[in-house]
Symmetry: C3
Subunit: 252 residues, 3 copies
């Protein structure tokens, strides 16, 4: 950032434990991808290659090298883990992640029928070789709405005990389902439950694909909150939200 005479929140330097910005790549073309990374690498901590996009991306290796050059971690979307699992090919998925030298692996049960207990076994297995981010919350809005606040907390704790480095709260890429209620708003009960729990904030990552959600988490939990599913086009906007340089978080 250019030096300024404004007083702004101080951000940890990379590699950091708080204030992580995790992008989601929905299949951006390769030059465009590099352009984003090269223009704003200081503000990007990690990139998730969303769901199964990595399988149909021609220049995946080029993207990965660009990330490595900029000290940015990466992993594949949890849906890909679930796809391999649904075809009983979890060893092949393990190999697939090793082949690409993934720094992280996301373990989720947002789409398939898999109990949190069963999910925890996979967290344990994968944490042998990878830093594991687990995910809590259903991609189906109705199913997500039925998960009570206490269950959210129990699932998060179970995942951390199983070896997850951090736990991601689901919100899809559109800001629906997961931690959002059927009205599309972040559920006050889940957020309140998290705030009053003993779970350290640095152990959590909130999917926050919309400006509205980003501003809410920053206003409520501070500029150092970890946020994921950030669109490639929103890196700079999010950084300004963290620094109070946009109307939505001006007074944070």
């Amino acid at each position: 950032m250019k030096k300024t005479e404004l007083e702004l929140p101080v951000r940890e330097a990379k590699p950091r434990k708080n204030g992580l910005t995790i992008l989601i790549d929905n299949g951006a073309p390769v030059q465009s991808f590099k352009d984003v990374v090269n223009s704003s690498s200081d503000y990007i901590d990690m990139v998730k290659f969303g769901w199964g996009t990595s399988l149909v991306t021609h220049f995946l290796q080029q993207k990965i090298e660009c990330l490595k050059d900029n000290n940015i971690g990466f992993f594949f979307g949890g849906t890909l883990f679930e796809k391999f699992l649904s075809q009983d090919k979890i060893d092949q998925y393990y190999n697939y992640c090793q082949e690409y030298h993934c720094t992280h692996v996301e373990i989720s049960n947002g789409t398939i029928n898999l109990s949190n207990y069963e999910k925890a076994q996979f967290i344990q297995d994968f944490s042998q070789d990878f830093t594991v981010f687990s995910e809590v919350g259903d991609k189906n809005p109705e199913a997500a709405a039925e998960l009570e606040s206490a269950e959210w907390l129990a699932c998060i704790e179970e995942d951390l005990e199983a070896g997850a480095d951090k736990v991601i709260t689901e919100a899809r890429e559109s800001g629906t389902s997961g931690i959002c209620g059927l009205d599309g708003e972040v559920r006050a009960d889940v957020l309140g439950g998290i705030e009053t729990s003993r779970i350290p904030l640095e152990k959590l990552i909130f999917e926050a694909p919309t400006k509205r959600m980003q501003a809410l988490f920053i206003n409520r939990l501070g500029p150092q909150v970890n946020l994921a599913n950030i669109a490639l086009s929103d890196v700079i906007s999010l950084e300004t939200l963290r620094l109070g340089l946009r109307s939505d978080t001006f007074f944070c």
Copy 2:
């Protein structure tokens, strides 16, 4: 696509008759356009230069050459045909399409007052020199809602008999009007009518600008459905939807 050990739907190779992905270019800058094409040409069958954008695009010829290099067809939006027609200059439009060596021409009546019968005459004329895609459905939501399912089918059949290679069902670039009802959802009556008709699926192209619509058509009609008005940024996402690699079509 990278080889994977997953079992996935098989896609026809290009040039194909089913599973067409037709992009809409809303006026993308030229390098960005090339980046999309070069990063994912296997998944792109055709590009429509939306409405009258071709007239105000500086580097149209560069874009067209990039498409030719990648065996991708192209045509101009039906609204441009309608604009020329509204000024009684249809010969000039014919010349315009020839001048650019268009592979396809779209003949529509989504904006101007033109009966389907009159439209069919133009289909017949243009099919002498071009492969014609005709379009059915009104861009005006209220007018579109009044078109009954049986009329949809009659229009489609009239267009095919007149020489249209395929018929496109209107949905604008925002997923409203045309085949969508006033509530923004794809009309069950029209879709049901199409399914029970004798019209071969390969003769139809569905405009599906939103992920919601893309997933609906794929879940309902299969991964080989022809889809149009796909944003440049959605090529990879759509391919994953066709392959069941994203939550929305995971079980298709």
Copy 3:
């Protein structure tokens, strides 16, 4: 624009006083930014570096040079002015704008508590060295809704008398608040008040981030209306709307 045999509205050449298209840069990566400018500079009159993005943009100088090469003016978002003001550092903001050789400065009170009268003093000050665009309208939807039509006109006139070159009507980047009512639609009372006032149309700039708003202003006020907060991706689309080459303004 390519020569065409269509009869289309005539656009003033750059530099023009009417029909201004003012983009908002939300933090686009640098190559992508240049690509937009180089692909369509005839249609771009000015670029606003939205809110405080300029402070966290690595290649700001490169972007500015690209604009200068293409005879495109630029300024920083009004929220940045408000941020400096809220920390009692308005001299530093003045210097900041001088350092970057800004052609324009935006003076607003959309976020902080600042009366229109106080705002007018800053307009007077900054107009010594810069061409000032002032902004009227609150970013808070509820506060915006309370501002009556007569007050809008009074604020606009006060700003012009204080030295503003043009006055911008607020609508955020999402088309809410400001001149839009709580229902998200442009307020008929404010627009009607403006039309029947003696304020020349060339003295006004309407923020119109959505196609719906762009089409409304063009259909109502003509192709020569000044529009701002246009996304980088919408330059070509807006130009076609001005020329009646898209369904939404086909009959304008």
